[in-house]
Amino acid sequence: MSDLQIYLTVGIFAVVILVIAFDLLDLALAALLGVAAMILTGILDEKDFLQVPNIAAGPIALLFGGMVVAHVLETTGFFTWLGTPFLRLTGGSGKRFLLMLVAVVAVVCAVLPNATTVIVLAPLIIRTAQALGVPFAGPMILTAIVSNAAGLLTLVGDPATFVVGSSIGMTFGQYLKQVSLGGVFAVLVIVPLLPVLMPEVWKARQELKPSGPAARLERPGLAALALLVLAFMVVMFMLGEALPVRVLPPSVAIIAATFALLLVYSAKVQPVDEVLRAVDWKTLIFFGAIMCLMQGFTKTGLLQGLALQLYGWFGTNYTLAALAILAGVGVLSSVLANLPVVTASIVMTKGYLVAAQAVPEMALSSEFTDWPVAVIPVFVAMMFGGTLGGNATSIGASANIVSVGISARYGERITFARFLRYGLPVTLAQLAVGALYVVGMRWLAA
């Protein structure tokens, strides 16, 4: 890539982000225009379009699968049926609703990917918010934020944590010992912010009508089968990779979506065309376009090129380097997809550690796993930055994009600025907690 193309890439990216931020154009259209500009300026070529699916196909398949399964469940009346006891549990209190939401999302995220969690829980959350007479945009944003933070709870909770962990050969058990507690803190720090960020929901009190006859499932048989598909999806997410024929989460989502479509087709509830029309294609296209833009950005090598700069700035002070990486990756992940950001940051961080001679040159290879304890916090900082930074804006994580898309379909538009009002304070608090955690790790490693 020439210098001119590097400037153009950064310029195109900046323009797309600004256009979305100031709500000048539809976000999907803005992202597609950015992709078109990159194609016409030779930044993206056919090789790139062959590479983009490597990163984008998985998350898009997950989103598609989750959307189809959630829609099929909705046709059974499942969410209305579940919504009544959920509403009762809130006792009509907005405060209890928000606390329950944090707990439920964190637990569900342990078994479902972030964006899928948002898709599956969205109908329940929106119905409850409507029943409490509060706007649902805040709770939907909260759902996305909690799901992103909960991604830190396990190694496989978020693609970013998984990619960073895998790059240093970290096992599931090692992750639980070294990083999961930080994930718990990242979720808990949201709670004290709720009364300030969402006072209208927090203070809401709604007198619930005395319980009448419980809502009935419209199609109990179909609901049972649809739940079976959901259960299959959950079990396969957890066990699929250990099977003799490896089935990765995106493939599981596609299989589950196919089963769900088969159900509605067999039961003649809806034509398949109608179910597919209910899929939020705009969100999927926006996500794909953002991934294409990221491919252009990754090609510039700007992030990787910081490896020697980091060494120049911080030398062998790994604590400072870790904090800088946490902040830098956090800021970048707030406007760029976190997966490509952490992928490029891994190259940068490994390069820095090799240049600083903390590890031998072979550490640049993916085969190297003999990482000294002293440098592990540098990678943990990257996990915190990549996972939590995305909470700041509506385009920072796939779960955010999905929550914005669903809210729009249900009639509440979440602009970039509106999301930022909730996301930024939470992100700052979470990154501060992450920084303290990383400093603590460094202190223990010393």
């Binding site: 020439s2 210098d3 193309q5 490896a307 020697l308 190259v347 001679q357 040159e361 290879s365």
Partner: protein, 343 residues
Amino acid sequence: MRINWVIHGLVRALIACAIAFSAHAGEVTDGVKSRGKLRCGVSNGIPGFSMPDASGRWSGLDADFCRAVAAAVLGDPAKVQFVSLKSSERFPALTAKAVDLVVRNTTWTMRREVLLKLAFPGILYYDGQGFMVPAAAGVKSLDELKGATICVEKGTTHEEQLIDHFAARGAKVEPMVIDSSAAGVASAFFSGKCRAYTSDASQLAALRSQAPGGAQAFVILPELISKEPLGPVVRRDDAEWTSLVRWVLYSLIAAEEGGITRANAKSAVAQARGPAMRRIAEYQARYGKALGAREDWFVQAIQAAGNYGEMFERNVGAESALKLERGPNRLWNRGGLMYAPPL
């Protein structure tokens, strides 16, 4: 009518834009051409290989090779941005795309090529790991260094090979691994912190030429404990760039074999006497573009650095302060290992 005209103009502009920016050669070649400069990673000061003088002008075998590549691509050997790198920085700089090429006394190994996803286009200097000791110590062979403290630079292949060599002979040495430049390790050795200094034999000779008290105060032992084929390194993801660098290296060797020198390169190729010269003249023009280089890349490279023999003698051989023997770096038909495939 007006709208059609505007749309028509817009489409034409977009197509022109797409054609102007469309990629053709390798990504690195494109970058070098658009930047107008080759970013070449070199050492942070090894006489004979890459060393800046007081005015900041780099000289040495590695530096000259950078110039030959720049001349082949850009037509000007001065269009090189030398990036001084510690040995531990060379591969991060390359993988981070901070440099286009590393020519920094780097040993070609399978491990580096396979695990670090690098490509070694060829061998610029056949070397081996040697040992330097103070002449006054009277050490004549490696056996006398058993148990000795030996200075070695961190981040090189020498550290591991040093331990392996003595361990295989049931002996131990105390490696003093120094996190610094080659000059920094030499300084520790010259100040008496270790009994011997191990590195590439050529590098030892280079550093000995700057030794306090003169080169004669130190001896390089005749035994070599490893093969160290040194050469340029590029990233493996750009096969076209690898080819270009490889054929610049081979052009230098082929020129020596064909009697083409820095002084006569232009006229020899222009006159094209004999089948070999005719082939060079024809192929450089015909395949230069496909190589991502200029149509006169062969002549440009030789004019920039001289043929391989000239480069060697000027920088590390008889005409230099190092006065190294050519040894295995002689041409294949003169008892050496330097061999260029036909163009």
